[in-house]
Each structure stands twice: as structure tokens, then as C-alpha cells.
């Protein structure tokens, strides 16, 4: 080996500089992991039986008052509840965060516990591709799962109601699907962040669930308290009541779950014309009970969708910075 010899230039397999080199390899591997993991089987089973249960209850409720409400039957499959059970969308409100957290809480720290991180990062990819790949794979998996569930709901609906859905209903359901995935995206970003910060997957899972509990259970109470402090009702003037209600709404919208609920309302109840506080004079000229066209409902939820996406991006950016700084060794 010592003698002089002409050494051919080593192969350059990729363009230097693209942070996304290897992204699709990561996405494919992570999606395969999600779709074959026992953890996801359990959650998929859970959401599927929830769908069947609530939709069958809803359709029997709808049939019992048949004839009275011919419009938007399929959307009612999502929202009608038969006491004592909640409706399908009520279940979605907490199943979606659960699924999202379950997918991401060990995304990065498991690479440390399995000692795979150093080996993977010594392949010609950037850390960006690994993190982004894991996130995208989670989003795509959610699209697949919820897409399948939506098909199930519509299939059961056709079977039990005996009528096909209208284009408007399909359109609203598709928007709902998009919003649901974005809502899951926020919780996935939370769990991904903790999976980078905490080396123990159990700690990351607990931290994610703590954040979720905070926003679902405690935040509504805190928001009322804060609203009462910021805009107190001293003598009971209508302006005072209105100011406090406005503050309360604004504060509650900080919780992703509240935004998602408003999105559900706007998309699944076309007769809802506004998501803010309505004063009687604002309704003048508006025909009450007249459903909004889909495009108007989408306009209504547009700020909410943007808010969910913005929250996801901010969390992802924090995760990214923290991951870039981390040492690769376990």
C-alpha cells in the first residue's frame, strides 16, 4: 500500500447542501414502523370501535326523527350523541392528541436508548432530514388512519341511512380531515419536543400528557379567572359583560383543543355563521338557520387552521434548535 498510486476521486453521491437528503428514506422507514407497531394497532382498534359505536348510535337517532331533517345527515353522524355516550367528534377531541403523543414521545430519545443515533447520523444525511422525516411520517400516518376512519364512517352511513352523501358533505368531511391532522400535528410537535429534551421516553410521555391535561382541564378554569381579573364586571353593565366574554374567548383560544372544537362547530354545523360573540344587531339582515356555503365556513376556520399550523411550526423550530445542539453520544 505504500507505493505511489493514482487514487480515484471518491464518489460524490449527493448534492452538498440540501438539508433534505435522505428525507424520504427516513419517512418511509418511520411510517412502516408506525403502521406495523403494536402500539398503533391498539390505538387504531380503539378509534375504529369508537367510530362504529358512535356512528351506529347517531344513525339510529337520526332515523328515529327521519323526514324532519333531510339536510347534512352525514355530518350529523359525526356530531349526534345518544345519551349517555358522547358523539364521535367528542371522542376525537381526546383520541387525536393521544394518538399524536403516542407516535412521537419516543421518536428521538429511542434512537439514543437503542444506540442507533450515531450510526444513522454518520450516514450522508443532515439532522434536519431525520427530525423532519419523523415528523412528516407522523403526519402522513395520521392522514392514513383518519382517512380510513372517515371512509368507515361514510360507509356505515350509506349502509344505515340508505342515502349517499352530497358533495357538500364530502367536502366538509375532507376539510375536517385536514383540520384533524393539523390538530394532531400540534400534539405531535409537543411530544417530539419532549422526546428531544428528555432521554427517558417515559418522562417525555408524561410531560406531553401533562401539557395536554393542563390545556384541557386547567386552562379553561385559568382562562375564566384571568378574564375576570383583566375585565372585571363591577356594576353589571352590558359592556362589561361583553368585554369579559371577549377576553374569555381570546384566552380559551390559546388551547389547541378549543380551536379544534370551534373548527368542528363551523365545519359540521353549516348553520353556524360566526365563531365570535354575536350581538343582536349583527344578525340583522342575516337569515337565521340558513346554512353557510362550504367556502364561507372555511373562511371562518381559516384563522384557526393558521393558528394550529403556526403553533406546530414554533414548536418544531424549538425542537430543531435543541436537537441541533445535542451531542450524538448517548
Amino acid at each position: 500500500m505504500a507505493e505511489a498510486q493514482v487514487v480515484e476521486r471518491p464518489v460524490v453521491r449527493e448534492k452538498e447542501g440540501s438539508p433534505w437528503t435522505g428525507l424520504w428514506a427516513v419517512v418511509a422507514k418511520e411510517m412502516a414502523d408506525h403502521l406495523t407497531s403494536f402500539r398503533m394497532y391498539i390505538l387504531e382498534f380503539l378509534i375504529a370501535i369508537t367510530a362504529v359505536g358512535t356512528v351506529s348510535a347517531a344513525s339510529s337517532a337520526i332515523r328515529s326523527v327521519a323526514g324532519a331533517q333531510p339536510k347534512f345527515l352525514f355530518l350529523k353522524l359525526f356530531t349526534v350523541a345518544q345519551e349517555p355516550f358522547p358523539s364521535f367528534v367528542d371522542f376525537l377531541g381526546f383520541l387525536v392528541p393521544l394518538i399524536a403523543i403516542a407516535m412521537a414521545f419516543d421518536a428521538v430519545n429511542s434512537e439514543f436508548t437503542q444506540h442507533t443515533l450515531a450510526r444513522i447520523l454518520s450516514q450522508p444525511i443532515y439532522r434536519d432530514a431525520l427530525l423532519m422525516g419523523k415528523f412528516l411520517a407522523g403526519l402522513l400516518t395520521q392522514f392514513l388512519i383518519y382517512g380510513a376512519i372517515w371512509l368507515l364512517v361514510f360507509g356505515l352511513g350509506i349502509f344505515w341511512l340508505g342515502v349517499p352523501p352530497t358533495a357538500e358533505e364530502v367536502g366538509r368531511a375532507l376539510w375536517l380531515l385536514v383540520a384533524t391532522v393539523f390538530y394532531g400535528g400540534v400534539w405531535m410537535a409537543v411530544a417530539l419536543f419532549f422526546s428531544v429534551r428528555f432521554r427517558q421516553p417515559a418522562t417525555a410521555a408524561l410531560a406531553s400528557i401533562a401539557v395536554w391535561l393542563f390545556f384541557t382541564v386547567f386552562w379553561p378554569m385559568i382562562a375564566s379567572g384571568l378574564a375576570a381579573m383583566i375585565a372585571p364586571i363591577r356594576i353589571g353593565l352590558p359592556e362589561e359583560i361583553l368585554a369579559q366574554a371577549r377576553w374569555l374567548l381570546a384566552l380559551r383560544r390559546i388551547a389547541p383543543g378549543w380551536l379544534y372544537t370551534e373548527i368542528l362547530v363551523a365545519l359540521l354545523r353549516p348553520e353556524v355563521r360566526t365563531l365570535s360573540i354575536v350581538l343582536p344587531f349583527q344578525l340583522e339582515g342575516a337569515i337565521l338557520g340558513q346554512p353557510l356555503p362550504l367556502s364561507q365556513s372555511v373562511l371562518l376556520i381559516w384563522p384557526h387552521l393558521t393558528g394550529l399550523i403556526a403553533a406546530t411550526l414554533i414548536l418544531f423550530a424549538l425542537t430543531y434548535i435543541s436537537f441541533q445542539r445535542q451531542e450524538v453520544r448517548a
Binding site: P10, V12, E16, G22, A25, R119, S122
Partner: protein, 318 residues
């Protein structure tokens, strides 16, 4: 002269005030097996991570195959295979699937990847268990899978951190054979270890690290000469009265020291292979020669002696 494939100049790494690597200079030539030796915490792993661009140096520069790993990490990583200490695989995936993932990350087309995976698994003797989840693999099998994993990208340079740690003697020997094979294929191998006799068996050159500095560097013989003052030890056994041979042997040109073990045995420390001269001198003295053996200097001796001297404040080394 073979060209230099890894070059480090004044490379330093500080972790909040702790100096892990201190102004290191390193030149590794194409096709050689180079051993980084040193006690725990001497900066071996940190050096390796900087060579791969997985950790940013605090100061100094690195060139791997002529490229700076911080500026061209993809090129460097496409041509350098790395087996970390405690190499890990995805336990739920099979050996084959793990290697396929590596191939995809390297952008190797599927058809070509299949071929390389089959070859690599064959080479390390894991073809039979290719479709078993890695979770069921033993430590030694994982380590061999680590070799298969780096072979997928057909690298010019292979860097291994503590490759034989936790392997039984037989597996360790097998692993060292892999290293020699890789060298025969013209690949450059850099390995970090504190298992001295293993490093000695495969390395062309070694660098002795101590507290983030390269204290000594050279072939094992050179190090022995520098630290122990001799490179060869000749064991002489005669029928009786070995003591009277001490003086005549000491007079020989090149002999440094003669040590007496017992009435029959002497150890002659010398600068070069002096077996003929020693034999001749013994016969000339009329002694009956029973045995004449030469012992190569061992890295263990160098290592032990060097650190003894460091502890006693001598041997800044060089």
C-alpha cells in the same frame, strides 16, 4: 508515499471548560491501520466525532479525503464508515431491513443495494439470520452486523470505536481478521481502543493519547524503543552457571542490559535483533545453550511504563 487521507491540525474540543482534545495533530495515510490508544476519558471518541463532523471542533481544522467535515459533511460521511462503540440497530427490524435502511440513506439504488447487502451479510457470516429481528442477536453478531453496515457504502475509510469491547477472545480475533481484510482491500482503518494486545496485532501505527493530547506516536517498535529504551528481549537458557555470561554479553555492541532470572536463564535487552551475536558469545564462553528466544516488545509494557512515568512526573514524551 501514500497520500494523507485524514489530517487534523491543532484540533481542540472544549466542553464547558473541560478540555477533551487539546491541539491535536494527526496524519493518517491511505491504506494503513492506525490505532488511537488511551485510557478512559483521554479524548478518543471526541476525536473520532470531530473527524466525522458529528461534533464541531472548538478550534483547529480537519481534512478527510481533502474535505472539511464541517463544510462538506455529506461527502465525508458518504466515504467514511463509522462503527460507534456500542453499535446499535433497530431491534424490531431484521438485519436485512436495517442494512436496507442504511443503503437508502446513502442513496444507493435498490437493485445495487440488494446485491451489496447479500455480499456484506455473507462476508460477516450472518446470511442465515438475515431475516431475523436484530433484537435476537448476540453482542458479537451485532458487532459483525456493524461491519456489514459500513461495507454497504463501500467506504474509503472505516473508523471504529472500541470495536472488540465485550467480545469473547475468539470473536475478538475474528474481528481483527476482518480489520486486516479491510486493509487488504486498500481501505484505511482508524480504530480507538484500550485493549493493547489487540491493537498491536493489527495496527501499523499507534498514537498514545493522554488527557486529550497525543503523547506518543509511531509503530509499536518505535514506541518501545522510546519508552522502554529497548525494543528486543532475548531469552537465553543454558545448562548451568548463567551468571558468568552476564559480563561478556554486556560487552556486545548493541546490548543495553542483561538481567538474570535464575541460575539457568538470562534476559538480554538489546536495540536490534541480536540473536546470532548472542548465540555466538554464549558458545564462545563454553556454555551449553539450551534455548534462545526473542520476545517482541509488547504494547502493554510500553503503556504501563509510559503511564508510570507520567504519574511520577517524568516522560513528557514526544
Amino acid at each position: 508515499m501514500a497520500r494523507t487521507v485524514i489530517e487534523a491540525r491543532n484540533l481542540s474540543k472544549h466542553y464547558n471548560g473541560i478540555v477533551a482534545v487539546d491541539r491535536l495533530n494527526l496524519d493518517i495515510r491511505e491504506g494503513e491501520v492506525y490505532g488511537i490508544l488511551g485510557p478512559n476519558g483521554s479524548g478518543k471518541t471526541t476525536t473520532i466525532l470531530m473527524l466525522l463532523g458529528l461534533t464541531e471542533p472548538t478550534s483547529g481544522s480537519v481534512r478527510v479525503l481533502g474535505w472539511d467535515p464541517t463544510r462538506y459533511p455529506l461527502r465525508v460521511k458518504a466515504n467514511v464508515g463509522y462503527i460507534p462503540d456500542q453499535v446499535g440497530f433497530y431491534g424490531d427490524l431484521t438485519a436485512w431491513e436495517n442494512l436496507m435502511y442504511t443503503a437508502k440513506l446513502n442513496g444507493i439504488p435498490r437493485q445495487e443495494a440488494r446485491k451489496r447487502i447479500a455480499q456484506a451479510l455473507e462476508r460477516v457470516g450472518l446470511s442465515d439470520v438475515a431475516h431475523r429481528p436484530v433484537r435476537t442477536f448476540s453482542r458479537g453478531m451485532r458487532q459483525r452486523l456493524g461491519v456489514a453496515d459500513v461495507l454497504i457504502k463501500d467506504p474509503k475509510i472505516i473508523i471504529m470505536d472500541e470495536p472488540t469491547q465485550g467480545l469473547d477472545p475468539e470473536s475478538a480475533r475474528q474481528f481483527l481478521d476482518f480489520i486486516l481484510e479491510l486493509k487488504k482491500e486498500g481501505r484505511t482503518v482508524l480504530l480507538a481502543s484500550h485493549l493493547l494486545h489487540q491493537v498491536q496485532a493489527v495496527c501499523d501505527r499507534v498514537g498514545l493519547y493522554y488527557r486529550g493530547k497525543k503523547a506518543l506516536e509511531g509503530t509499536v517498535e518505535e514506541l518501545a524503543r522510546r519508552v522502554l529504551g529497548f525494543a528486543y528481549r532475548i531469552l537465553v537458557q543454558v545448562r548451568k552457571d548463567a551468571r558468568r555470561l552476564i559480563e561478556p554479553l554486556q560487552r556486545l555492541q548493541g546490548v543495553q542490559r542483561v538481567e538474570i532470572k535464575d541460575d539457568q536463564t538470562l534476559i538480554v535487552h538489546c536495540e536490534r535483533d541480536m540473536r546470532p551475536e548472542v548465540a555466538q558469545a554464549v558458545i564462545q564462553q563454553g556454555a551449553q545453550l539450551l534455548r534462545l528466544d526473542m520476545e517482541m516488545p509488547s504494547l502493554d509494557d510500553v503503556y504501563t511504563r509510559y503511564f508510570q512515568e507520567v504519574r511520577h512526573g517524568r516522560g513528557a514524551g514526544g
